[in-house]
Subunit: 365 residues, 2 copies
């Protein structure tokens, strides 16, 4: 009958958490609908005020002619790449080896669209202008993810990004932005969303990462591009009779949080300093360029888990519910700052990091 | 500045409507969430209590091993057919010429899955056992829609259905049920959902037709079949981080309405008698076998619209917002009974049909 407390269980019992906006629960939906009248009409298969107003707002923010709301980024991005491949009559695209399309979508791009992929750059670094220039295969479209999530949310410098964009335009290569966390990188770049998007032919953004909606995505581009994307949305089974249960929260939390991205970014930098001050702990990148980074321990998960459980139980501060082994003697987790961190008393944070440092110092290699 | 009132505008102004459960508005969502605690955890990419409990409930109702919740029937059915084609190593399926897959999905089945289709039967009648027996092409799977929506919701007699099922099993043809309106036909058949589904290898149901949820679908079958469907759900971009905004209403309205299907069916029969008593008006089928039927006018839409507008304005009773021309001298609309009809005072209904009969009698051919 003995039950050893798991990391996730101990995390669930913490009174405060460093990352995110709070639990993903029905309250997220209910809060977004508090001020919505019962009489607000549903959208109907992509038409109607509730969807077209939000699409117009997003097109404006992203500096594109038009935008389309999708149930998911998986759907939106496969469709974007399919359209560009069809137009170029070339079913090959390039992206990072750890792109969402490559590792999280059960190969939908290949299985449904029969698009070949070129994996640019090594897994542990960003795509550079040289990678693009030295590509030996002809491609219809290059997908860049800003920030590159799976390597801690790293970013190319803005002039490198501009150079890649200019090169692609010259070469007739379409450039698509995986902007799942686009708003989160704007404070570092010191640019508007529209300025960054102007470097790209098409753009996808998520409404539930930093924005904290429930689910959904927006695909933006020229009028003919988004019109074509609606046909594919129907084909994929994404042209739902009603998408308002996602659109209303997307709008609500976008307006509430889009101006907080600078705060989240600064708090991520502050937190990274705290992690890097602890023994056998480091962050990737060392200095965050968005609200996210990876926390790395120079010990395997099996060794770190009991320490974190102790930390959670003694301080009530939760860091993560999951650790991923990244080698024989290392593990890591992803952290994205949101509404929660700013509300934790500073002395509570300080005490947690003091204990983390102590526990890691004492830990056996 | 003159504006001629359209049929849709006049319909929107009516105080009562014969069809449906009421307006598709935010109230549908808010009512379903009234008793839901803020702390209810979201599902996460197809996992978690809120989704797995509902899937288990639906599997039980449909008499199948397992069930999977999908954002749409378009997605669920393409995936079902793809799985069966892959297993049979034969990319050909058969369905009715007016199947949803053939006319409402922008050819997703062909464009995404490269599945060939055999159109069985004429457009204006049901698929029969003879149609299946006389097929000249080998197929992996036959899709039957119960009721056949685009021809007024007609149904094969139950023994014909059993014979088709037995024939398919003998021939090694997979049988898939498009049960978008499955619960609506159970009173006519006098069968449980599980009894009807036992004739099929896989089953799709919608949660927003007669049930009146917001959006979504359930695909049910054997454990290995639904497990494979989840991989394709991810590929299609339908494995959303949170589907609870559709699942909670689906569960709420399923429980509220599944036992009312008999009432809706009887009211549809009652309404069909009233329509058939009017000059130049008939229903298809003449005697409904579910909660739905088509209303046909022996005049073009241009002639009927002003009469209906007059009817709506004088009686406050709304029949439809749209008419579809079905020939030079005929038009029609689809009607499905729901919660609304039973709440209209009988004398109001009577007055509306008396005026409809009078207006149609006076109308010029």
């Amino acid at each position: 009958m003995d039950h050893k407390t798991t990391l996730q269980e101990a995390f669930n019992e913490t009174s405060v958490q460093l990352a995110g906006h709070g639990k993903r629960d029905a309250g997220v939906l209910k809060k977004a609908f508090v001020d919505i009248e019962d009489t607000l009409s549903s959208d109907m298969y992509g038409e109607g005020k509730v969807i077209s107003d939000f699409e117009a707002e997003m097109a404006e923010v992203l500096g594109k002619e038009t935008a389309v709301f999708f149930p998911s980024g998986t759907m939106a991005q496969q469709i974007a790449l399919r359209i560009w491949c069809d137009r170029k009559e070339l079913k090959t695209v390039a992206y990072h080896p750890l792109s969402h399309l490559e590792i999280h979508e059960q190969d939908g791009l290949k299985e449904l669209h029969h698009i070949r992929t070129v994996l640019l750059a090594d897994k542990d670094r960003l795509i550079t202008l040289d990678d693009v220039k030295n590509m030996e295969t002809n491609i219809a479209c290059l997908l860049l993810e800003l920030p590159q999530r799976e390597i801690g949310g790293q970013l190319p410098e803005y002039d490198e990004l501009e150079a890649i964009s200019a090169y692609c335009r010259k070469q007739g290569i379409i450039l698509h932005l995986d902007g799942a966390r686009l708003f989160e990188v704007l404070p570092y770049y010191g640019k508007t969303a529209a300025e960054v998007c102007s470097l790209f032919d098409s753009v996808y953004i998520s409404v539930y990462k930093g924005i904290g909606g429930i689910a959904g995505a927006v695909l933006a581009g020229s009028r003919d591009f988004t019109a074509e994307s609606k046909i594919w949305k129907r084909r994929h089974g994404g042209d739902l009779i009603s998408l308002y249960p996602y659109i209303i929260p997307a709008r609500h939390y976008f307006r509430q949080r889009v101006d907080k991205m600078g705060q989240y970014y600064e708090e991520a930098m502050e937190l990274a300093v705290l992690f890097n001050s602890c023994a056998k702990v480091s962050t990737l990148p060392e200095v965050p360029v968005s609200n996210m980074f990876h926390v790395r321990f120079a010990l395997p998960a099996e060794a770190v888990e009991p320490l974190l459980i102790k930390l959670y139980e003694e301080t009530g501060v939760g860091l993560t519910g999951r650790l991923k082994n990244t080698g024989d003697q290392s593990c890591s987790f992803e952290l994205s700052t949101g509404d929660l961190y700013g509300s934790i008393p500073k002395d509570k944070v300080k005490a947690a990091f003091a204990l983390l440092d102590k526990l890691m110092q004492e830990a056996q290699h």
